[in-house]
């Protein structure tokens, strides 16, 4: 059954069961492998994408739920906030193994859109759902602060 998806500014026809997790559609059907599989049960945040501008765990989002919506993955993250975060991430060398970082960045973009100048508590509350087995949390927090300062 074909479903029309709008991902990173482009329309796609996907022939998949509407109950398929969005994560598998992104990775296996569209080849967008920046979005990672971590736990499959919304416990780690590695699969975070944006749906109509809001963060969603793609592992627990059925394909049927995003038909007609605008999906943004790490490959399509753009704009002043995303660019400031990307620069801060590189400047502070945030990733270690890097597996969780796409999800971390997508959550960070959502956080800064909602709270342009977050304090530590805002960052902790907004990023709590994104786990990092390398424990890069202090660098993530510092990079979010740096990006917030850089966004005019």
């Amino acid at each position: 059954m074909a479903t029309t998806l709008y991902v990173n500014g482009a329309h796609h026809q996907v022939d998949a069961d509407p109950e398929t997790p969005l994560l598998w559609v992104l990775r296996d059907h569209l080849g967008l492998t920046g979005t990672k599989y971590g736990c499959g049960v919304a416990q780690c945040g590695a699969c975070t994408v944006h749906v109509d501008g809001s963060p969603r765990r793609s592992c627990v989002t059925p394909l049927r739920r995003v038909e007609g919506a605008a999906v943004t993955t790490i490959e399509g993250a753009e704009g002043r906030i995303a660019e400031a975060l990307r620069a801060a991430w590189i400047d502070l060398q945030v990733p270690q193994c890097g597996f969780c970082q796409a999800g971390q960045l997508m959550s960070a973009v959502a956080l800064l859109k909602a709270v342009p100048k977050p304090d530590d508590a805002d960052i902790d509350r907004g990023m709590n759902g994104n786990l990092c087995r390398c424990a890069t949390y202090t660098r993530i927090r510092a990079a979010i602060h740096q990006a917030a300062r850089a966004v005019k």
Binding site: V41, S54, P55, R57, V60, V115, R125, M127, N128, G129
Partner: protein, 194 residues
């Protein structure tokens, strides 16, 4: 036994996820009809209503702290999420980041998934305390009892209590029976148990 057969045997013997025990029974209003004294009847009816309100499917999202509970074990929600403004979670980690408008796989979902405000916290309270809270407009969202009844009878998020994923115990009875009990309680004078 070959390795392949051993694998098949172990796979077949693997336990399936435990199913929750059946929910507690919820009596209908007629069960209390023999209680001639209205106040006594009202208190008994609310005790029945409270079986639903204090069940994990309802009370987990009426937490006493900013953090909701989850599962039948009423453990603190993992990931660590907070009520936030309007009960919809913190910016960057709102409830709808993980909870959709319907259940999906084992993920619970219902329209407008959110936490009750702090003044509507039920966890740790007795049926009498919850009853007095529900009658107090300062702690029931400014609702009349009719409006509370409507919320219990019609809100799709309340309906989730009986439509949880299979690994979670549903609330006792049904939404229809809860609404009937609440209606009977109002008609009996809306008295609260101690």
């Amino acid at each position: 036994m070959s390795v392949a057969l051993l694998i098949v045997a172990v796979t077949l013997a693997a336990p399936s996820p435990p199913e929750p025990p059946p929910p507690e029974e919820l009596n209908d209003p007629g069960h209390f009809a023999d209680l001639a004294d209205e106040e006594t009847r009202a208190k008994a009816l609310f005790g029945e209503v409270a079986k639903v309100l204090l069940h994990p499917r309802c009370a987990n999202c009426h937490p006493a702290t900013p953090r909701p509970l989850q599962l039948d074990a009423r453990r603190p929600h993992i990931p660590w999420v907070v009520r936030g403004k309007d009960g919809e979670g913190a910016p960057g980690l709102t409830c709808d980041t993980c909870h959709g408008e319907t259940n999906y796989l084992q993920q619970p979902g219902a329209p407008h998934w959110h936490l009750a405000p702090a003044e509507m916290a039920w966890v740790g309270k007795t049926p009498g305390e919850v009853c007095r809270q529900l009658k107090d407009p300062a702690r029931n969202g400014g609702r009349t009892l009719e409006a509370v009844h409507q919320h219990l009878a019609e809100d799709p998020l309340v309906a989730y209590g009986w439509r949880a994923p299979a690994h979670l115990q549903p609330a006792p009875g049904s939404q229809e029976r809860l609404a009937a009990l609440f209606r009977a309680w109002i008609e009996a004078g809306a008295h609260c148990p101690q």
